[in-house]
């Protein structure tokens, strides 16, 4: 019985983790290149959710088509925000960028609220279900996980095989050195920020495929905090690290519940959240470069 539950949760954890991982890659990319923590991360995820909702409910299109659209929306938002604020704050203390990205998140939330209202929305993309005996998985979740893996792979190839990708990697390694070697560092900053936001907004589509309900302007807060934990698991500055961090996180979240449930007098689900932040602290202390080695 317990084994059945645990193995079911394990499967669920892997599927969930893939999506979580993808949803954190943008955060890690931006931190890796610009050393800026995007505290408004969740709000960009929320924008992606609304893009999906618009494509599916208003236009009647497959959510997969919403991915490139959301990516594009993200690129544009990212560029606008980069040139309006971030560019001028790159040399300012952390305080400035933390507050600026947070405010950008609030701005997005309030704008979306004015346009769409604060109703909790959802949609139903029904493409069947797989019964795995120990647990059941709707195909939409599997598609979301596969989509996440595909995007992660695409990003990997792009990093390794294109000039822009290698320029970006060189800036992550050493921005001064890259500048000396003739890399257009400012251009790389703008591009990375836009790409990071693009990925984040696109991840909103995948998260919405995974959980197609509860879409509202303020849905992002929880994802911001989760993304921090996942990013730290993956070393904070590596997008692939973040992807694997997501997998680990999904597993922890899903399996620790079953174990905590044995302790009497506690609320096991809340403790799983405590555990994830505890892990965050421990990793930051003993190994700030993350537990996942990814090149």
């Amino acid at each position: 019985m317990l084994l059945e539950q645990l193995s079911g949760n394990l499967i669920q954890g892997v599927v969930l983790g893939a999506v979580y991982g993808m949803a954190t890659m943008g955060l890690s990319l931006i931190f890796g290149v610009l050393k800026v923590v995007n505290v408004g991360h969740g709000a960009f995820v929320m924008v992606g959710a609304f893009v999906t909702l618009f494509f599916f409910s208003s236009l009647g299109l497959n959510p997969f088509i919403a991915i490139p659209a959301a990516f594009l929306v993200g690129i544009l938002l990212g560029l606008a925000f980069y040139y309006a604020a971030i560019k001028k704050l790159l040399n300012a203390p952390e305080l400035a960028t933390l507050l600026a990205t947070f405010s950008a998140g609030v701005l997005l939330e309030e704008t979306v609220k004015m346009i769409f209202g604060s109703e909790y929305r959802g949609f139903n993309w029904d493409v069947g279900k797989v019964d795995l005996i120990v647990t059941a998985l709707p195909m939409s979740k599997i598609f979301a996980a596969l989509g996440s893996v595909a995007i992660a792979l695409l990003l990997y190839v792009w990093f390794k095989r294109t000039r822009a990708g290698s320029a970006m990697r060189s800036v992550v390694e050493d921005s001064h050195g890259a500048r000396v070697c003739g890399v257009n560092v400012d251009g790389v900053y703008a591009m990375s920020f836009a790409l990071g936001i693009g990925l984040t907004v696109a991840s909103g589509v995948l998260l919405t495929m995974f959980i197609p309900v509860g879409i509202n302007p303020y849905m992002g807060g929880g994802y911001t905090l989760k993304a921090f934990v996942i990013a730290v698991l993956g070393g904070l500055s590596s997008p692939y690290g973040a992807f694997f961090g997501g997998l680990v996180f999904g597993l922890i979240e899903n399996t620790s519940y079953t174990l905590f449930a044995f302790i009497p007098g506690v609320e096991p689900f809340s403790l799983t959240r405590f555990l994830s932040f505890l892990i965050l602290l421990i990793i930051l202390l003993i190994r700030p470069t993350g537990i996942i080695k990814a090149k």
């Binding site: 669920q12 309030e110 929305r121 647990t135 899903n254 689900f269």
Partner: protein
Amino acid sequence: MKFFSLKIILPAVLISIIPFISTFSAFAAGHGKIVIGHSACLSGKYAKAGEQAVGGIEACVDWVNNEYGGITLGGKKVPLKYKKYDCESKKESVTSLIGRLITVDKVDVVFAPYSSGLTLRGAPIAESHQMLYMDHGGANNKIFEQGFRYAVQTIGPATSYHKGTLDMVKKIAPDAKKVALAYEDSEFATMVMEGAKNHAEKLGFEIVFERTYPKGTTDLTPLLSAMKAAKPDFVLGGGHFEDGQLFNRQMADLNINVDCLSLIAAATLPAFSDALGHMAEGVMGPSHWEYGVTYSKEAAKEKGKQWIGPSQDEFVSLFKKATGDQKMLPDYHAAEAGAQVLAYVLAVEKTGSTDSDKVRAALGDLEFMSFYGSWDIDDSGLQVGHSMVDVQWQDGKRVIVWPESAQTGKPCYPMPTFDEKKDGKKALP
């Protein structure tokens, strides 16, 4: 150099003084009208409920002035005014705005903001000014165990949310034994859970699962998997708007079929069925009020109770007029806030004064019925007269299935399985 700095400082000083001066000029509510003050939650985390409450209050104020002809006070008809500020769903703003309403705007009664926390935040200010403080959005029973003298509740207490559902199952399905409780880990939902648990034990149900999930969670899979293993006959749970849709959706994803599922707060909203489609079929939720309830002037007469206020349909059209949104329907947040206006009007007329002590005393004796249902408070101010209804989604429509005296349709029990629902089976009795 010195001159230059003065140039900066002087305007700065002036600007910072302006706000205090302008409070002098703020109009003081004089004679000839009665003013309701409200620190409403128009933005922030309770914006959804706050918007509803404001619409409900405006609708009833409109009715009092234009249909009822104003409040009869000292032989004259006095108009009712409504003064609201946005507290942003934040406690710091609640106290300063309630302070302003009482001392600057000189309102005659203060309506509390939404949620138990914010209601508690404002209460000491109202108490210290001996100002009547009416609570339409704070369901925590403990508010009324604190000895507030001027606090009065219109919303029903949290412990009563799932009583009706349990009564219903007990009556229509004597074989159902095993109940699972899964609520949000918040002050409100855990209090609902406590009430449900006590009532379930009293009725002799076996509680096979009893867990909470943290606020703001985005994945309930581990909890629901464990719940599935407990094999309950029916499930009670929920918390707020956020998690209800998720709860239902993920039960469908995991193919957990039970005879009855009742979720607080979320399941009664139109957005719930919009978001979930066929998965919402047969799902239930307790509500303080729902469109379709059968409270009417005639029903009040039968019970020998005083009736006041618009009929249900009038209320809906006044609400739409007030919000300027033809698509938005009032939910129970609107209804309870509106009913609170009516309670106040009756109490003022009864005592012939707007003095808070007298109105509070009158409210204590008051018992009436409106579109919202019965209204009666105990000595502490806790609402005891109002009973909740249970709503079920049947063929995409909300049907009131419990209590029997208020029902607009029979309950569908057991509800169809998720697979049946997917194939188009409706939850019809």
